[in-house]
C-alpha cells in the first residue's frame, strides 16, 4: 500500500479538529463499506480519519430523548424500541452489526447493486436530528436536511424523542447476505404526529408525506405513497417490483402501528 496519512483521534474534540473542513479526507468508522473499496483498489485514500478510538460511540436515553454517537456499532441499537431496534437488527449479520456503525450507515453513498443506509428510513420516521461538523463548524439540523447535503460533513451524533409507538416492515431478499431491498418505518410521536419513511425507493431514505397525510387509512396511505418516490432498478429488485411492493409495506407498517398504539 502506498503511503497514506492516517489520523487516529483519541477524543471527539480531536476528531473534529482532524476532520477540519473534510477536504480530501476518507472517514473510516467500522470499515465495512470503505475497507473492501480499498482492498479492491477502487479507493486509494491519501488521508484517512479512523474513528475507532475517537470516543464517538454510545447510546444514552434520558428524559425521553435518545442520543446515539456516530461511531456506535449497530449491535448496540438492536434492543431499542421500534422502528430503530428492529431496523438495526435487520442489517446484515451479527458480526457485521458488531462492526458497522450508525454513522457509516447513515452517511453511506447510494449503493450500486443494493440500497445502503437501512437506518435512514427508521431515523427519519422518529424525526431524528443530526449533529455534524465540517466547513463552517458544528451544526445541528433535521436528518432530512443532513441527508440532502452530507458530503464534507462528519456526523457526530443523532438524537430523537422516543416515539409513543413505532413499526418497521422490510422486504427482504433471502440470500446469503441479508441485504434489504426496501423497508418502511412508521412512528407516532408523543403529540400524535405520524411520520412514515422508506429506505430503498431512491438514492437515500426519504419521508412519504403523501402517505403521512392519509395515515388514518393504511390502504389509502399505501397507494398515496407512490406519488412520493421514484424507485430504481438494482440487483435486488426492479423499479416495477418496488412500486408494486411499497403500498403493501406502508399498509403493513401503519396497521402494525395501530396495533401497538
Amino acid at each position: 500500500m502506498t503511503a497514506v496519512d492516517v489520523l487516529i483521534p483519541r477524543s471527539p474534540e480531536e476528531a473534529r479538529a482532524a476532520f477540519g473542513d473534510g477536504d480530501g479526507i476518507t472517514v473510516i468508522a467500522g470499515g465495512t463499506i470503505v475497507m473492501p473499496e480499498i482492498t479492491y483498489g477502487r479507493l486509494r485514500p491519501a488521508r484517512a480519519l479512523l474513528l475507532a478510538r475517537a470516543g464517538l460511540a454510545g447510546v444514552s436515553r434520558s428524559g425521553g430523548r435518545v442520543a446515539i454517537g456516530a461511531a456506535t456499532p449497530l449491535a448496540q441499537l438492536v434492543d431499542l424500541p421500534a422502528p430503530i431496534g428492529p431496523c438495526a437488527a435487520n442489517v446484515a449479520d451479527l458480526e457485521i452489526r458488531g462492526q458497522a456503525t450508525v454513522g457509516g450507515n447513515v452517511c453511506a453513498g447510494a449503493g450500486g447493486e443494493a440500497p445502503r443506509g437501512d437506518l435512514q428510513g427508521a431515523l427519519l420516521a422518529v424525526g431524528a436530528t443530526a449533529r455534524s461538523t465540517g466547513a463552517g463548524g458544528e451544526r445541528e439540523e433535521p436528518l432530512e436536511d443532513f441527508l440532502r447535503e452530507r458530503s464534507g460533513r462528519l456526523l457526530l451524533e443523532l438524537s430523537y424523542d422516543e416515539p409513543a409507538a413505532g413499526a418497521f416492515v422490510a422486504l427482504d431478499r433471502p440470500h446469503t447476505h441479508a441485504f434489504t431491498a426496501m423497508a418502511v418505518s412508521a412512528a407516532r410521536a408523543g403529540d400524535g404526529t405520524i411520520r412514515i419513511a422508506v429506505t430503498g425507493a431512491g438514492s437515500h431514505g426519504q419521508r412519504l408525506p403523501s402517505a403521512e397525510a392519509k395515515a388514518d387509512d393504511p390502504a389509502a396511505a399505501g397507494d398515496a405513497a407512490l406519488a412520493d418516490v421514484q424507485p430504481h432498478d438494482d440487483a435486488l429488485a426492479s423499479a416495477w417490483y418496488r412500486r408494486r411492493t411499497l403500498p403493501v409495506l406502508v399498509r403493513r407498517a401503519l396497521t402494525r402501528l395501530k396495533e401497538v398504539s
Binding site: G30, T32, A48, T176
Partner: protein, 170 residues
C-alpha cells in the same frame, strides 16, 4: 503497533490501513483465517478480537492496535482439541474446510457468551458464515451439542485420518 495473537505479542510494522487479515496471513503466517470474498460477505476470515467475532478483512490493523486476537490456532492443538473442535469433528461438521475456521470461532464465541442449543439462535449467530459445500445441518448439530455441554469421545467417532485436522487447510 502491536497485536497479541493467540497469546504471543507481535510488533507489527505495516500500513495502518492494512487489513487484519493480511497482517495475520502474510506477515505473521497465521493462515487459518481465509481470504474468501474479502468484502465482509462470507465469514471465512472471522477471528476473535478481544473475544468478539469480527471480520478480519474489514478491520484496518490500526483499529485493533493492542488487541488480543484469537484464531483457530489458539483454540486447541491437534492432540488436545478445544470443545468446539471436538464437536465439529464428532459431527463431521466440515466438508472442504474453507469456511470451518470462521464457523468454529463464531460458534466458540456464541457458546462463550452463553448461547443455547436453540436452532434459530444458532442460525442467527452463524448467519454471516457461508459454506459453499452447503454443509449447514451438521454444523448446527455440532454447535447445539457444544451449547448443551455434551462430551465427545472422539475414539468412538469413526474419524478418517484427515478429520482431526479441522481448521488446518492452508
Amino acid at each position: 503497533m502491536n497485536l497479541t495473537v493467540n497469546g504471543a505479542v507481535h510488533d507489527v510494522d505495516c500500513g495502518p490501513l492494512t487489513t487484519l487479515l493480511d497482517v495475520l496471513r502474510e506477515d505473521l503466517g497465521v493462515t487459518s483465517p481465509k481470504a474468501g470474498c474479502e468484502q465482509g460477505g462470507c465469514g471465512t476470515c472471522t477471528v476473535l478480537v478481544d473475544g468478539e467475532p469480527r471480520r478480519a478483512c474489514l478491520t484496518p490493523v490500526a483499529a485493533v492496535d493492542g488487541a488480543e486476537i484469537t484464531t483457530v490456532e489458539g483454540l486447541g492443538t491437534p492432540d488436545e482439541l478445544a470443545p468446539v473442535q471436538q464437536a465439529f469433528t464428532h459431527y463431521y461438521a466440515a466438508q472442504c474446510g474453507f469456511c470451518t475456521s470462521g464457523m468454529m470461532l463464531a460458534a466458540h464465541a456464541y457458546v462463550e457468551h452463553g448461547g443455547s442449543d436453540d436452532r434459530e439462535a444458532i442460525q442467527e449467530a452463524l448467519g454471516g458464515h457461508v459454506c459453499r459445500c452447503t454443509g449447514y445441518v451438521k454444523v448446527i448439530e455440532a454447535v447445539a451439542a457444544l451449547a448443551r455441554g455434551d462430551e465427545f469421545d472422539l475414539a468412538t467417532t469413526a474419524a478418517s485420518p484427515g478429520m482431526t485436522n479441522i481448521g488446518g487447510v492452508r
